[in-house]
Symmetry: C2
C-alpha cells in the first residue's frame, strides 16, 4: 500500500507553514516576478525558475508537449551543448532537475550558494535560446514514450487514474494526462515544441524562486544582470482554459486489470481550489480532508473503518487546493478481503453520512491542528520544499500574500466551517466513483440492482 | 415516446439509396467542390452550401461558435442588410434555413429553378463579405442562449444526452455539445465569430450541392460566375481534431431529474465511422443496428423485449456512420413499469448475449434488406434529402464514390459480417451506460452489489 498512500499524500508534502518565512519579493521591468527565501543554516541555494505554463495550457491534440519541452530544455542552447547544462551543475557539486504539472513547468538546481550566478546565467540562456535538432526530437520523444510506458502503461493504478480524470472533467483540460495520451505524444514534433516554447517561455510568464544562504539585494542584482536583458513576450494575456459546465450526473467506472494487486474504491468530487484573496473554503476543505481521512489511526474514516471494525486496510480523504482551476476532493477505501467493493463503497458512504450527522469532534480538530503545526515546523527544515511551495502557488494564480495567509486561515477553520464545506462538497452529481479490481470471473460479475 | 423514437431514428431519415442518382460533380479552380443532382420532376431547385467546419472544429473554450456564426450569416453583408437574405428568398417564393453539426455547417434555399443564380449570388456574397455589428452579436447571442434554454435546458433528455456524450469522449471534441456549454456561449464575441469565419468560410473549404430541375453545365457556369471569383484561403490544411486514447473502462451515469416522464437505459459504444474507400465495417454496423433493433415489430430486441414478453415499451439499436471521426453504436430499452432500470439493463444484456450466440436469422436479414430498399426508393422522392446526403458525406470525409458505393455495400453485408461487427463493437470498456429516471426516494436508492 505504500505506493498508494504515497501518491495520495503527495499533496501534503509541500504543506504550508504556520510560522512566517523570511521572504522578500521583487519584480524586474520585463515582468519577471521573484521570490527570495533567506535561510542561512547551510551554505546552499536552491534556484528555481517556474513558468506559468503546464499541461492544461497545451493546444488541443498536443498533450504531453509541456512535459516534452521540459525534457528538451536540457538540450543545446546558443551557448551550451546538449547535456552541458546538467554537467556544469554537477561539476559544481550541485544537482538539478525539472518537473511539469497541469499549471506549471519548473526547473531547479541546488548548489553551493556562491554558484547562484552561474545558475542564473544558464537558466536565463535557455529561457530564450534553445537550439533543437531533429535528432533531439526523435531521441527525446522516445524517452518520454518510455517514461509513459514505465510510469503509466505498466501501472494499472496510473491508467485507472487517467480514465477517472478524463471522466471527472467534462470540458476542462485537467482531464488530460500530463505525460500525454500516447497517440498524441507519438506525433509531437519540433514545431509543436517551439510553438509552446515561444508562447510561454518568457520573463513575463516566469517566476524566479531563490531560497537559501543568500542576500535578497544581491539576488536582485544578479537577476537584473542575467534575467533583466531578456525581452518580454508581448500580448501574453490572462491564462485561458475551458471551464466546466454544470456536472449533472455522477460518473462511475469499473477498471479491471489482471495486474491489480489490491482492489479499492475511490471517489473524487469536483471542488473549488484556493483563489487569490479567497481561500477560506479551500482551508475548510483542507481541514475536512484531515479530519475525515488524514491519519489512519485518528481520522473519522480511519477509526471507523480500520481501527474499530477492520473493514478496511486503508482509507483516506484527500484534497489539494493549489490549482489554477477547479480541483477535486477525494475519498478512498481499500477493503479487507472479506468485503466486496460494493460493500466497501456502502460502508464508506455510511461513515460519511454519519459524519455529516454528528459533525466534527472539537478535540479531534484540535489534535489535527496540532499535527499540522508540527508537520509545518518540520517542513521549515526543507528549504527546497519552501521554495517549491511559493513557486507552485505563484504559478497557480496565488500571491505571496495568499501563501502567507494560509497557515492562519487553516488555524482559524471552525467545526462549522468544516461541516459547511462538507455539506457543499459531497454532491454526487459532481463525482466520479471508480472501482479498481481484477477482471471478474463469470459468477463474480457485477450485478446492479435497484 | 414519439420524441425519443424520432430522435433515435433521425439518423435513418437521410438513408442512402439502392438506385443510382443522376449525379455529376465539378470543382472550381479556387477549390470549391460541387455536386449536381438532376431531378426534373418539379421545377424547383435546392441550393446548398456546406462548409467543412462544425462544432468539433471549434477552438477550446469557444463551444457554440460554429452554430452562433451560422445565425450571424443571416445578418448584413457588404451588399445586403441584416435579414434581407431570407426576405429575398421569401419574396421569390422560396424558403431557406441553415444547420450546424459536429462536422459541418450548411445553408440551403429551396426555390423555383429559375432563381438559382440569385441564390448563388447571395450565398457567395456571405461566404466572404459579412458585416457584423456589436448589436448583432448581443442580439443573436441572446437568441442562441434562448435556443439552448428551450432545446436543452428545458429538456432533461437533452441534458442527459450532453452528459453522456461528455463521458463517451475522453479527448475528442465530439464530447462537446453543438449548441455550446452555456457558460462559454455567454462569452462568445465578435472576434470569436470572425476568427471562425475567416478560418473556415472559404471556397476551398466548401461543398456546393445543387439538386433539382437544373442542367449540370448551366450550374457549373453559374457557379463559376458567382463562386469562381472568391479567393481561396491559403494554408487550410487537413482537419485536425484530438483523437480518443484507448478507453479502458466503461463509464456509467445515473441522470435524475424530476421532469423525467419515462425512465430508460441507454448505452453507447464507441464505433468506427464510414471511412473513404473503407465502409464495409460501417455497413455491417448499419445492418447490425437494423437487425438488432431497427423495427419494434420485427427486430431481435423488439420481438424479444416488446412483442413476445412485454418487458419493454420500446427498445432500439442505432448507428450512424456519417462522421468525420469515431462515432457511436447505441442500445436503448424503455422498460414497462414492472421492471426497474437495473432489471431492464440486465434483460437487454441477456438478449444481446443471446443474439451473439444464435447469430442472424437469414430470413430476417432478407426482410431488413427489403425494408431498406423500400425506404431508399421512398427517399428518392425527396430531392432535398438526397442533396443533404451528399453534402453531409462530403463534409464528413467521404467522396461521391463512397456515397454511390454505399447501397451496394449494405446489400452485400452477410450474416457473418454482422456477427463479426457485433463481436467487435460490444466492448464494455468503450461504452457509456446511462440510466435516466426521476430522483429516487430514500428507499428506492440504487444499491450496487457485487
Amino acid at each position: 500500500m505504500r505506493r498508494l498512500i504515497a501518491s495520495i499524500f503527495a499533496c501534503l508534502i509541500a504543506a504550508p507553514l504556520w510560522a512566517a518565512e523570511n521572504v522578500t519579493t521583487f519584480e524586474l521591468e520585463n515582468g519577471l516576478e521573484a521570490v527570495v527565501i533567506e535561510d542561512h543554516r547551510a551554505p546552499v541555494v536552491v534556484h528555481m525558475l517556474w513558468y506559468r505554463a503546464g499541461a492544461a495550457d497545451e493546444p488541443p491534440g498536443k498533450s504531453g508537449i509541456a512535459h516534452f519541452l521540459e525534457h528538451l530544455l536540457f538540450k543545446a542552447t546558443e551557448n551550451l551543448e546538449s547535456g552541458e547544462f546538467s554537467e556544469i551543475v554537477e561539476a559544481n557539486g550541485g544537482r538539478d532537475n525539472a518537473f511539469t504539472s497541469w499549471d506549471y513547468t519548473g526547473y531547479f538546481q541546488r548548489v553551493a550558494a556562491d554558484r547562484l550566478e552561474l545558475m542564473m546565467q544558464m537558466e536565463a540562456d535557455r529561457m530564450r535560446n534553445i537550439r533543437l535538432t531533429e535528432e533531439d526530437i526523435v531521441t527525446e520523444r522516445d524517452v518520454i514514450l518510455e517514461e509513459r510506458n514505465q510510469r503509466t502503461d505498466s501501472d494499472p493504478g496510473a491508467l485507472f487514474g487517467e480514465q477517472r480524470r478524463a471522466a471527472q472533467y467534462l470540458n476542462h483540460p485537467y482531464g488530460i494526462p500530463i505525460i500525454g495520451w500516447r497517440h498524441e505524444m507519438e506525433e509531437l514534433d519540433m514545431e509543436d515544441a517551439l510553438d509552446f516554447y515561444r508562447t510561454f517561455y518568457a520573463p513575463n510568464n516566469a517566476v524566479l524562486v531563490v531560497a537559501g544562504d543568500v542576500d535578497p539585494a544581491e539576488v536582485e542584482e544578479l537577476a537584473k544582470k542575467h534575467y533583466g536583458p531578456l525581452e518580454p513576450t508581448p500580448g501574453l494575456g490572462q491564462r485561458f482554459r475551458p471551464q466546466e459546465p454544470p456536472q449533472l450526473s455522477e460518473r462511475r467506472l469499473i477498471y479491471e486489470d489482471p495486474r491489480v494487486a489490491q482492489p479499492y474504491v475511490i471517489r473524487t468530487y469536483l471542488a473549488p481550489e484556493r483563489d487569490p484573496g479567497d481561500q477560506e473554503k479551500a482551508a475548510a476543505l483542507t481541514m475536512l480532508a484531515e479530519v475525515l481521512g488524514g491519519s489512519s489511526a485518528t481520522s473519522v474514516l480511519g477509526r471507523a473503518l480500520q481501527v474499530d471494525t477492520n473493514r478496511a486496510v486503508y482509507s483516506s480523504a484527500f484534497y489539494s487546493g493549489v490549482n489554477y482551476d477547479d480541483t477535486t476532493f477525494g475519498l478512498v477505501i481499500v477493503p479487507t478481503p472479506d468485503y466486496t467493493l460494493a460493500e466497501a463503497e456502502a460502508e464508506l458512504d455510511k461513515e460519511v453520512a454519519k459524519f455529516l450527522e454528528t459533525g466534527v469532534d472539537p478535540e479531534q480538530l484540535e489534535r489535527v491542528k496540532t499535527q499540522i503545526r508540527a508537520s509545518l515546523i518540520y517542513a521549515q527544515d526543507d528549504v527546497g520544499g519552501t521554495a517549491r511551495k511559493y513557486g507552485a502557488a505563484l504559478t497557480s494564480g496565488l500571491t505571496v500574500e495568499d501563501v502567507r495567509a494560509w497557515p492562519g486561515l487553516l488555524k482559524a477553520v471552525t467545526e462549522e466551517d468544516i461541516m459547511a464545506a462538507a455539506r457543499e462538497i459531497f454532491e454526487r452529481q459532481n463525482a466520479v466513483t471508480g472501482w479498481y479490481r481484477k477482471p471478474q470471473t463469470e459468477t463474480e460479475t457485477v450485478e446492479v440492482s435497484q
